[in-house]
Symmetry: C2
Subunit: 337 residues, 2 copies
């Protein structure tokens, strides 16, 4: 259905249809009505693609993330969606399933689709040592397409980013445990080469140092970010002759796994061991005991990423780094020693 | 960066660049190399939008769903993503946040973006009585844009759909409880006007009838699909003088809420009460006891939706209804009476 078909069916000229569509010159109400009836009948639509070509904007954004089934990301995505809708953007969701190669493919694809900007979460921007070609690829991309990184960074020229201060969040968590009388504290989960793990452990050690305490090396148990990681590492801890009285977990998933494993072995949480998570995903309140955790303010995080990106697209000045303060949420999985 | 810029920088004619890009005529290796270097240098890309206009396809699909933070949908989305990638589609994810008006907005927007097809989950297609204008809108849309409905339907001409047989899944769950000796069974959660709730209750009553049993009306407790619905309704059940020995839940979320509430009130699951969920989302194995549930085979469901949609787009014949058989997964939340 083109403008020519509409003109033909309404028995008017193409110019008249154009006048009505673009409101460029007055047309008699009767003629206008005739044209609108045909348009409604066929649900004639202006061609969004053609308009995009002309306007050099597509009002589409690409969202690259590593795993939509990890509940942290849908929560952030909700904030992204809310803010994107308010600014009339539609979203391509690109789930890389944790593979760097797919990140590359999606970057290429999103450029080809001429998105107005992208938000990048997880993957290579969370590596403490990223391969040079992965870094350069994203740098080059960001020079051409407005880009915002969430909770990560990349070597080279700083790309605009919004980060939750995970170190500050971890400090709050450790101070909470110290205030409850715990000094035998273990750390569970997280890949050693990911910045999110490193930042948390660094903050953990910092607070301990400030209190003249030392973190026991054998109680730092790296693993991945899954429920099973929490189970595996809790099992290890419970087999040690000297057991911690409290456990910091890299995220809520591992905390819930740790709580499940402890419960299965007859330990009562928080009476026998205090456990603390990170993220505040819905899972944290689904189990008994509800999990004490650090909120990353996921909706705000997602909204902020888009509001920064929108400003970049409109060529407004934005500071390179926006920091969101996390918040300790005390629930039932931590108790006085 | 246009083809003219490439030609200029490489010191060759536009026609030569075109020959290389489109491989329409032989070009000397040396010239080709020169052009490719310039192209790589500037990451020259063919204009995907222009190509889409010419080809009348965009290789984009729209996915409309009600709530990405409900873990059922990310699980289905993963299957959708896997199959879409294999067929070279990129996905617009449209989260309606449960509002019918947003469904309308997204349908309009996706048509304007000229997606090659859409997958529709939840919302109006799950209403047992849908308003006529909502039904007609989707019917009209589906006549123009290839459309696949997941776990739902709409009055009027049948639209292609893929459904898990939720009735059959519920029958398996009820038979499992009967085999364990339970006949005092309650049903928790689900909005009364949603087909997913109705189908399950109908199947529950059917199996009971077959065994000469009657479902107690006061034990059918409608609510929404949330964790809190499970908590609220379990609390009601535990306040009754005659309590059920087993509870069927509309989904895993309500089952986990019910388990949490029972635990909080000192009931041991499954020793005191057996509880069974539906969906098999990751949450089902995150808690203690792990939840007996009915798997909707979410990845297969998502994959199947896209493979049907892809056939529709290619104008292949596909049957209107594809049914996926669900599977009872026996875990720890159900036990012999």
């Amino acid at each position: 259905m083109t403008i020519y078909d509409v003109a033909h069916e309404a028995g008017v000229s193409v110019a008249t249809v154009s006048r009505v569509l673009n409101n460029t010159a007055p047309v008699s109400p009767k003629t206008k009505q005739k044209i609108m009836t045909v348009i409604e009948k066929y649900q004639f639509q202006r061609n969004a693609l053609a308009r995009s070509l002309k306007k050099k904007e597509t009002r589409t954004l690409g969202i690259i993330l590593p795993d939509i089934t990890n509940p942290f990301f849908p929560e952030v995505f909700s904030g992204i969606e809310l803010e994107a809708r308010e600014n009339d953007y539609t979203l391509f969701l690109c789930d890389t399933m944790g593979e760097y190669e797919r990140e590359t493919q999606y970057l290429y694809m999103l450029r080809e689709r001429q998105v107005d900007g992208i938000v990048f979460l997880g993957g290579r921007i969370n590596l403490s040592k990223v391969e040079q070609n992965l870094a350069e690829e994203l740098q080059t991309f960001a020079q051409r397409v407005p880009t915002v990184l969430v909770n990560g960074s990349i070597p080279g020229n700083p790309i605009h980013r919004v980060c939750v201060d995970e170190g500050a969040g971890t400090e709050q968590a450790v101070r909470h445990l110290l205030a409850l009388g715990h000094t035998d504290i273990a750390f569970i989960g997280g890949l050693e080469y990911m910045t999110t793990t490193m930042q948390k452990i660094r903050a953990f050690k910092k607070v301990f140092r400030e209190h003249g305490l030392t973190v026991r090396k054998e109680w730092i148990l790296y693993d991945d970010f899954s429920l099973n990681a929490g189970k595996r590492q809790m099992k290890k801890l419970l087999h040690m002759s000297h057991k911690p009285t409290a456990v910091l977990c890299v995220n809520d998933y591992t905390a819930v796994g740790a709580i499940q494993e402890a419960g299965r072995r007859g330990y009562s949480i928080p009476n026998d061991i205090s456990i603390i998570g990170f993220d505040d995903v819905p899972l944290a309140t689904a189990i008994l005991p509800e999990v004490t955790t650090v909120s990353q303010k996921t909706e705000l995080l997602g909204r902020t990423a888009i509001s920064i990106l929108h400003k970049l697209i409109q060529k407004e000045k934005v500071k390179k780094l926006t920091v969101i303060e996390p918040e300790l949420i005390i629930r039932e999985s931590t108790a006085q020693l």
